[in-house]
């Protein structure tokens, strides 16, 4: 059985989590791994329909992702999560649930760059006060203190960020 792991990406909306997840999926599949991506859309459809964006609902959502990731990791899966997961304490609970194989990746991007990109127009709306509980504007984002990997998406290409994650997985003997 392959060595299971969970690449836990955390970062603000628009920082590049899903884009990196897609590229990382391709590279891991090219190495013969079975990959599961647990991103916001999949999780809201299959695990958390009905949850909102309060701290409690966000935490419930994150712990469900962690529960599923922990089961899969035990079976040798290559799991990639791509949820904002803004709270340190909840991410640390995920780390404990998943145990060995947990690799936290901080997908970092300055708010100025995020509001400039603003592909979905969400930052503009949030800055006008039209979205409650918007992470980084009207709701906190707590930066990771000791992530295994930091990628800076305003300075690196997607390929460079992905290569950093691949290197971290190789270093730990997970791939």
């Amino acid at each position: 059985m392959a060595q299971g792991f969970t690449v836990w990406m955390t970062g603000m909306s628009g920082a590049g989590k899903s884009t990196i997840a897609a590229q990382l999926t391709r590279e891991l599949e090219a190495r013969g791994r079975l990959v599961d991506v647990l991103d916001g859309d999949i999780v809201r459809t299959h695990l958390s329909k009905g949850l909102g964006f309060s701290k409690e609902d966000r935490d419930t959502n994150i712990l469900r992702i962690a529960f599923v990731a922990s089961l899969l990791t035990r079976h040798g899966a290559a799991v990639i999560t791509a949820a904002i997961s803004p709270y340190i304490e909840t991410r640390n609970q995920a780390r404990e649930m998943i145990g060995p194989g947990f690799v936290e990746v901080y997908v970092r991007c300055p708010i100025e760059e995020l509001t400039r990109r603003d592909v979905k127009g969400l930052y503009a709306k949030a800055l006008r006060g039209e979205i409650a509980n918007f992470t980084g504007v009207s709701d906190p984002y707590e930066e990771p203190e000791w992530p295994e990997v930091i990628v800076d998406t305003h300075l690196e290409t997607v390929g460079e960020s992905t290569a950093k994650i691949i290197a971290a997985l190789e270093q730990r003997g997970y791939i």
Copy 2:
């Protein structure tokens, strides 16, 4: 990688699903398999806190179990689910989501025997009209039409029921 499968047990409260799941787990682990049991308690804690017993909530719960089981089955897991799962249509959706490896086990027991056992006193309460949406009393249980296995827990020992399931898994080449 091992051939993944999901033993989907369905049957009324008290019919013996969890008892058989525990015995089946031991036998599969003795054969070197990694087993995940998704029973009512685990699922209510980790996946479905807040859901009730309306048809819609039950269906949501079952489809979450099916989602997780489908991910695990793809990775070679031996999954056992032990939720009442009273509706044919929802179980068939689970069958479709999980695909090859889905083995439906009808854990059958007459209501007279269930009301006689009534370990938790729930049938007595339900028959007095004190529990709304109690499967088999105030809520429907739709029997499987074509389950892969039927176990009759008022006629068989736990060992006999488990052996039937093991035989069905062997026949299909899953173990």
